[in-house]
Amino acid sequence: MSSHSLRRWSWIHKWSSLVCTVFMLLLCLTGLPLIYHHEIGHLLGNDVEAPALSPELAAKPPRANIDEVIASARALYPNKLTMYISQEIDEPAIWNVTLGDTPNDEHYKPIAVDARTAKVIVEPAFEGGAFMSTMFRLHVDLFAGLPGKLFLGFMGLLLLVAIVSGVVLYAPFMRKLDFGTVRHGRTQRLKWLDLHNLLGIVTLVWALVVGATGMVNTWADVLLKYWQATEIADMLAPYKGAPPPARLASMDAAVKLAERVSPGMQVGFVAFPGTPFASPHHYGVYMRGNEAFSSRLYKPVLIDAQTGAITDQRELPWYLTALLISQPLHFGDYGGGWMKLLWALLDVATIVVLGSGLYLWVQRGRAVKRHAQAAAQQGTGISQAAPVLARSGERR
């Protein structure tokens, strides 16, 4: 590599990392508890469990009428609307009902209802309680809504630039060394430079994937809005000028209808009229498969919220499919306990890469300053003071 292009890549690596490092440290630290949000919820007593049924019922669990499930939840807040109902794939005994003052209420009320008896189980803590909610908000949008999300997405982009430029710089630094060499016993700086290179190259693909999928996740709101403005708008054309549905059709019937037209699939969630996943005139019933990969993908069935008839069923557009696939790859929640542990350890390794990078930059600043002072005392100026990036302390 010519010294000119080395200098250019060094500049790119330095500035892309410097700008995003503080935010990436925040994301790594807040992401750590989010990996274990189920376990932490359990420890804090915030997780929801379906009550045990009597043995004869448990043998063949009944399925409660979904309209009754919704009615039980709304009895707690008679003035609120239903926004969503959802079911986790491994917990068919619970319906999570979300109520709000408007279809986009950020301060929604989550209510867990028994899917077999239609009895309210509990009103779970909002976003998993104060601690988890704080971690979640800091990780997702810095408490700043959509602008916060897009800002973090931009920081993610800088991280990707830093990773790619870091790989380019790996070559000149490691050319004469064996893989995994860490030079102890010379300068501190050299040791941390080697550790930075080692952990950086080891976590490379993981960090690239988690960074990129995180960035894609920050666009979720925008992608949904785009979908609303294009495909949903097409479906709404026949409803132009029609008043919003006066009475909502039976949700129980809607879900059964959606199940009938989607063999082998089950309901993931239902969006009520006016929410980002539906239209003002439709229920969006989102069906998913029940295998490892197909359970991550949804097929929307749009049902007229007044008549209960199917209006449309279509595949999700590619960009929403990409969004859905990017979620597990970011969360690390698709491979069981070992994967979570590896996700946490890779996260810690990334913190070491970020921290050592910051250390190398600070040390380098000091070295340049010392050099400049020495040069000034000798009256030679500082034109020779800044060898490329991290070469000081490295004898060749």
Binding site: L199, V202, R296
Partner: protein, 61 residues
């Protein structure tokens, strides 16, 4: 394959491929696929950890 290129990039490429296999495997299936994923993601990390931790001397004082 003892070229300078492979000496420098052989290991990073191998670890990158392993990580990619690890990330995709668990997405496609459960059970054995999750186990494959754990090993494929774990090996690069273990190697990184081993190289990072060896060579540190406890202060003799």
């Amino acid at each position: 394959m003892n070229t300078p290129f492979m000496k420098l990039w052989g290991m990073p490429i191998l670890l990158g491929v392993l990580t990619t296999i690890g990330l995709i495997s668990a997405l496609l299936g459960d059970g054995i696929w999750d186990t494959v994923s754990a090993f494929a993601l774990g090996i690069p990390l273990a190697l990184g950890l081993w190289h990072s931790l060896r060579g540190w001397k406890l202060k003799p004082r």
